[in-house]
Structures are given as structure tokens and as C-alpha cells.
């Protein structure tokens, strides 16, 4: 034998969402369950590992698999059944949230939980068990799944619901795609009366007020999200702006019918009416340095000082990350550090984290806060508290310093009883992961994996990293 048996012509470099990582993989786009099965078979014969990939919107290595197989499921994106009476939708795993809401909105429904971008696929959303700006009220997306079917690497096809194969249900959702491949997913949509939300935006002058405002608004609102000025120090540390939104009801929305049309939800194609948004990221690039971050954040805070209440479409409120297409390109290489900390300890921990990042000259350029509550899924990231997501620009010169800083952050978060999210943080060590998950959870997950995937066919760079395989 003097030739390669592997299909090297399929080798492709795939990236994470922040363009800060790439890995070469044998890329497949299966279109049916049979094809997925034959890819498993090929992988088993050739000693390769398989990773499932959706839209590739994870900030870390969740959908990367160096020198292994990556199965991109975005071509398995059919809606199998949509019932506008019950709001139950059954779809293939590659269906994006965008294609989902386009179908359900005209019938007065909206996905109960959405991510900050609508490009994500249902399979990816379940694998990571995404949350939205309503996590405190609606939980993660997994709580709205009534049933799913999955293909296990053993070849078995299973049907899971909260009551049927409940252990698999609660572990495959949140399981990073390491236990099996979702083949169809049934989700309960949320009934809405209007296509618009009433948004109340107001400034908060410091971290204490910031968290207090989220805490107080959450119980009376449908969505709450905070923007945190990461560059402000001293008495203004943690200042920012809260957006609290409520569903509009038929009685108080004269334009109800209009809002339920897809074209009235779509984000405008130009900014300030002139600039095509596809080029905006070029103009953002010059601001992606420390002084620029400070300028943009300060200007945003000053602008937020005026209280405002306005109406906004669901799409415009939720999908901020889609507002400027390819915005992440402006940063070159980007990572996100998100921590979930109980409400009792969050303020002190984040005070320390924000102060350290400012002192080291590596302030984040964007901070986002949310309110959370615990859930029953095995690899859960949620706590009864808050999350703070910090975006950082990675440069050739700051890598080593930033790594040391993030390792210190991990310690602060863990000491505060916090947790991490496997779709976001890219540097979480196996030790940190084991600590927040707990030995029992890790053992349970490994036992389940032994059952569904005894030959460890499913592995991603993320799984190998956080489980030290």
C-alpha cells in the first residue's frame, strides 16, 4: 500500500466563531440518517474520531476536531411537522433558528429560547443547551423539548423525552454532541400576540446597582439583559445599561398583524440609512484597541443615561450579534470569557475580575450580564445568579498574559461557586471543569458515554480538552 486510504481531498480548515482557532478535518455534509451511519462506520474502520457541527457559532473548540471527521448537519434542515394550533414543531437538527422563526411567527408563535444569533442550528442549541435573555423565566432550550430521536454510535436509534429515557434526555441535551447525534427534535413554541416587545432601557451607575436592577426587573419582565461598560473603573465600575422587555398584548398593540410578518422583523440592511451593513466591520476595526474600546464604551454609557421606553421587534431585540454581519472579523481573533456566579457572590467576584483586567491593560471590549436559574440537565452551566460574558481581542502579543489572567479568573469564579459554559470559554482546563461539574457528574457522564458510545467514536477538541481524554 503506497496510497492514503483517507479522503484527503475532504480535508478542510474549520474555524471557531471568533476566528481564533482552526483545525483541519475531513468534512462531510450528510443529508440522511443512513449517511450518518455510514460515516460512523468509516470512522470506526479507520480509527478516526467524529465531531458533529452545526452553524459553527461556538466561541471555542466545540465543533472542531483536528485530523478527525467533522459532520456538518446543516443540510439536514427540514421542518418535518409544524402544528400552528399546538405550537409543536418537529424538525431535523440542522434547521437554523432563523428558518424556524420565519415559519412560526406568522402563526403568532416564537421560539421560547433563542441565542444572540439566529444562525445557530437546533442540534447545536440542544447540544450546548443554549439560554436566552429569559433564562431566569424560561430556563434553557432543553426545557421546551418535548421529544427527540437520536442515532447513537452503537447504531441504536433512541427516542427520548423528559419521561422516556429520561437520563439520556437530560444528558444528550447539554452533552456537547458527545453521546449521539440528534436526528429529529420536537420543540414547543411560545404563543405571542404581537411581533413587538416593549423595551425599557435605563442606565445603572455601578456594579451593585447593575445586579440589583437585573434582580428586581427579572421577576416582572419577560426578558432582561444588561450591557456592562468594561472600561469604567473606580466608583463607576460595573456601570452600564439594562434592557428589560415585556411581550406586548393584543390590547396594547395596534400594529399586531404587521409585527407578525417576517419582513417587518428583519434587521435593516443599512446603518444610519446609508452604509451597507456588510462593510461596517471594516470601519469597526480601527476601534479595536484599548483606547478605542474605552471611547466606544464611554460614548455608549453617556448615550444610555436617558431613560427610554420603545417598541422593538423580536428579531431586533434578540439577535444583536446579527446586527452587523461578520462583526467579529473587525477583531481579528476573538474569545469570550463567560462566568455564571450565584447571586450572593457575583458582585465581589466580578469586581475583582473587572479590576484585574483593567489593571493588566487587557480590558474586555464588551460585557453582557444576564439573570439565570438552575436546571436539571447534566452538564448544566446555570446557577441561581447572574452571568457576565466578556469579549476579548486576542493579539500575538497578549496571548501569554491573557492566559495567565483567565486562569486567575477561573480561580475567582470557582471560589465564588461559579460555573462555565462549554460553548463559550476556550481555555477552561480539565481541573476547572471537574471542579464546577463535580466528580459525580463527570462519572455519570462518562458512564453514559460508555453506554452510548463504547468506542469513543464521538470526540471533539472541546471534549478532549475539558475531559482530559
Amino acid at each position: 500500500m503506497t496510497n492514503l486510504t483517507l479522503p484527503y481531498e475532504r480535508l478542510t480548515y474549520l474555524e471557531n466563531f471568533g476566528h481564533s482557532l482552526k483545525a483541519a478535518s475531513y468534512l462531510y455534509h450528510p443529508t440522511s440518517v443512513d449517511e450518518i451511519e455510514s460515516i460512523f462506520k468509516f470512522a470506526r474502520q479507520n480509527g478516526l474520531k467524529v465531531t458533529v457541527r452545526g452553524a459553527g457559532r461556538s466561541y471555542n473548540d466545540a465543533a472542531l476536531n483536528g485530523a478527525g471527521i467533522v459532520m456538518n448537519l446543516t443540510r439536514m434542515n427540514k421542518i418535518i411537522d409544524w402544528n400552528p394550533k399546538t405550537g409543536l414543531v418537529t424538525a431535523e437538527p440542522g434547521l437554523t433558528l432563523e428558518n424556524l422563526w420565519h415559519v412560526v411567527l406568522p402563526d403568532s408563535w416564537w421560539p421560547p429560547v433563542v441565542s444572540g444569533t439566529m444562525s445557530t442550528t437546533l442540534g447545536g442549541c440542544l447540544g450546548m443547551n443554549i439560554h436566552g435573555k429569559n433564562n431566569f423565566r424560561m430556563g434553557p432550550i432543553g426545557e421546551h423539548v418535548t421529544e427527540f430521536t437520536a442515532l447513537l454510535p452503537t447504531g441504536a436509534q433512541v427516542t427520548c423525552s423528559p419521561t422516556r429515557n429520561g437520563d439520556l434526555f437530560h444528558s444528550m441535551i447539554s452533552g456537547m454532541g458527545m453521546l449521539g447525534v440528534f436526528t429529529s427534535i420536537t420543540l414547543q413554541m411560545k404563543k405571542i400576540e404581537s411581533g413587538f416587545l416593549e423595551v425599557h432601557a435605563f442606565a445603572v451607575p455601578d456594579l451593585k446597582t447593575h445586579l440589583q436592577a437585573i434582580l428586581e426587573n427579572a421577576p416582572v419582565c419577560d426578558y432582561t439583559v444588561g450591557w456592562l461598560d468594561t472600561t469604567a473603573g473606580g466608583s463607576g465600575l460595573g456601570r452600564g445599561q439594562i434592557h428589560a422587555a415585556k411581550y406586548l398584548h393584543e390590547a396594547n398593540d395596534p400594529e399586531m398583524k404587521k409585527g407578525l410578518q417576517v419582513q417587518n422583523q428583519t434587521l435593516p440592511a443599512t446603518m444610519f440609512g446609508v452604509f451597507p451593513k456588510s462593510i461596517i466591520h471594516y470601519f469597526m476595526a480601527p476601534f479595536t484597541f484599548n483606547l478605542g474600546f474605552w471611547g466606544v464604551n464611554t460614548a455608549k454609557y453617556v448615550a444610555s443615561l436617558r431613560d427610554e421606553t420603545y417598541r422593538q421587534s423580536h428579531a431586533a431585540f434578540h439577535f444583536l450579534l446579527d446586527y452587523v454581519p461578520n462583526w467579529e472579523l473587525a477583531f481579528g481573533e476573538l474569545i469570550q470569557y463567560q462566568s455564571f456566579i450565584p447571586k450572593e457572590t457575583a458582585e465581589d467576584a466580578w469586581r475583582e475580575i473587572l479590576t484585574i483586567s483593567q489593571k493588566r491593560g487587557m480590558p474586555s471590549h464588551l460585557g453582557v450580564t444576564k439573570r439565570h436559574r438552575p436546571d436539571k440537565f447534566l452538564l448544566t452551566h446555570a446557577v441561581d445568579g447572574f452571568s457576565l460574558a466578556l469579549d476579548f481581542k486576542v493579539t500575538r502579543g497578549n496571548r501569554a498574559k491573557m492566559l495567565v489572567m483567565l486562569q486567575e479568573f477561573d480561580k475567582i469564579v470557582l471560589d465564588a461557586g461559579g460555573r462555565f459554559y462549554f460553548a463559550k470559554n476556550s481555555e477552561t482546563s480539565p481541573e476547572s471543569a471537574a471542579k464546577f461539574l463535580g466528580a459525580e457528574t463527570v462519572a455519570r457522564f462518562k458512564a453514559l458515554k460508555q453506554r452510548t458510545d463504547p468506542n469513543n467514536l464521538l470526540e471533539s477538541d472541546l471534549y478532549r480538552r475539558v475531559f482530559a481524554v
Binding site: 483536528g66 485530523a67 474569545i335
Partner: protein, 260 residues
């Protein structure tokens, strides 16, 4: 076990990966140590498993377990190359650079003719390299990325009376690398030809080395710099470039009467 935790790449701990064929001693071992200092994950192959194990152990002591992995391989056994390449790539989690250093010089005299020696040098210096390049090239071509390094020699530039078989084996490799470069540059792949002059390694033990002798570490440094700067052909030491420029232009009328 494919990738352990020390081989996981993250945005803040990026990893590049290289294979070095012929890395148990001399220039290959020096290259391994040089790339290890740059943080490369290394797949090291050599027929001398014992010496190779020592090189790996030394690198892993400094860089953490798993930075260098040893694979015992005799380059004349071309049959095992495809499976071995696939295994190393899976173990490393990818491939950014492929470096072929393996080479032998079997001494002879201007009046002896020994086909067995010529064949052995052809097999190790040229054919073994071709077996690997034919597999690595399409992979890098598919990825539109990667660096291929081959260690030719100043001996490739002119055939001399001392060792025709060695000259021919290095000339074959040299021309092959040039052709490979012409195929792959358009696909974004970098092909580097390295032409060492005298070097302080076991290969030239007993050979008189009057001037311009490079230490393996110095040569490895030159090669690393050439990889970074995407040079096409380098001489090490650099002064050999000038010397060979002159030698290449000596007319045959004179050259065939010289005694070196």
C-alpha cells in the same frame, strides 16, 4: 489515544504540528529541539528507536508530556508510510510542517564502483523522501497551507569525482523539491530546499572538513528562519551559496580535471 490534554490547541495556546523524518541525531534532532522551543507538537521518526526515545524524552521534559512522540521507521520501508502518516497526523491532531532530514553518505574512493552503496543512498536520500512527499503534498494542497522541507546538499549542485551516487541521490531530491515547489506554490504551500555544506555531524565523521563547518544547532536555526520567512532555497552556512555559485560556473573543461 489521539490527542491528550497537552496537545489541545486553544486561542491563547495555539499549537503547530510538524513531522521530522530522521530525527534521532544530527541535524534532524537539532531541528526537533528548535521547533520544540517554538511550541510545535512533534511526530519524530527514525530507524534508531533508542536514540529517538532520548530526543523525545529530552523535549518532553522541557515542554510537557506528549509534545514529542517517537515512531520507529526505516525510510527504505516505503510500504508502511501511508499508515504511519495517518497515525502521526491523528496523534498530533493535524500537520503544519513536514521535514525530511534522513540521509546517508556511504564513503567510497574515486576509483571504486559499488552499486549496492549507490542504491542504498538512492533509497534513503531520494526514494524514501518521495514516498513521504507523495502523500504529504496532496494533503497540504487540499488545505492550501503547509510547509515542506527537504534537506538536499551542496553535493546536489555539481557531480564530482568523489561520490557519484551521493551526488546523484541529492540531485534527484533537489530537482524533485523544485518541481514540487512549482506545483504547490500556487496552492499556498511552501516548499523549502536546504543545502548544507560541511556540518558537524556523524555523517561526515572521518571526512576532512577544512572550512565553513556548521553545527547542527546553527543549521537548525537557519532552517527555522527560512521556514518563517518562506524562503525557497537556503545554503547553510550562507557562505556556501557564494562558493557554489562559483563552482557551478566552472566550465566542465576545467572541472573534469580537478581533484575535488
Amino acid at each position: 489515544m489521539p490527542v491528550n490534554k497537552t496537545t489541545a490547541a486553544t486561542p491563547l495556546q495555539p499549537r503547530r504540528r510538524a513531522i521530522i523524518i530522521g530525527s534521532a541525531q544530527g541535524l534532524g534532532a537539532a531541528m526537533a529541539r528548535r521547533l520544540a522551543r517554538e511550541g510545535y507538537l512533534l511526530g519524530l521518526a527514525d530507524r534508531n528507536g533508542e536514540l529517538l526515545g532520548k530526543v523525545c524524552a529530552e523535549i518532553n521534559q522541557a515542554g510537557g508530556p506528549g509534545q514529542a512522540r517517537a515512531y520507529v521507521h526505516d525510510v527504505t520501508n516505503t510500504e508502511e508510510v501511508p499508515a504511519l502518516l495517518q497515525k502521526i497526523m491523528a496523534d498530533l491532531g493535524g500537520l503544519d510542517a513536514f521535514i525530511y532530514v534522513a540521509g546517508i553518505l556511504l564513503p567510497t574512493t574515486p576509483t571504486t564502483y559499488e552499486f549496492d552503496k549507490d542504491r542504498k543512498m538512492m533509497e534513503v536520500n531520494a526514494l524514501g523522501a518521495l514516498a513521504w512527499y507523495n502523500l504529504v503534498a496532496p494533503i497540504f494542497q487540499a488545505l492550501h497551507s503547509g510547509t515542506i522541507v527537504g534537506v538536499s546538499s551542496v553535493a546536489a549542485d555539481r557531480g564530482r569525482l568523489g561520490n557519484p551516487g551521493y551526488n546523484a541521490s541529492k540531485a534527484a531530491l533537489d530537482t524533485y523539491l523544485e518541481a514540487l515547489r512549482n506545483r504547490l506554490t500556487r496552492h499556498g504551500v511552501h516548499v523549502l530546499t536546504v543545502k548544507p555544506g560541511y556540518m558537524d555531524t556523524d555523517m561526515l565523521k572521518g571526512v576532512e572538513r577544512p572550512f565553513l563547518v556548521a553545527s547542527p544547532d546553527k543549521a537548525a536555526e537557519d532552517i527555522w528562519n527560512a521556514m518563517r520567512r518562506r524562503k525557497q532555497t537556503i545554503y547553510t552556512l550562507g557562505a556556501w551559496g557564494l562558493i557554489m555559485l562559483i563552482i557551478k560556473h566552472i566550465p566542465s573543461l576545467i572541472f573534469r580535471r580537478l581533484s575535488f
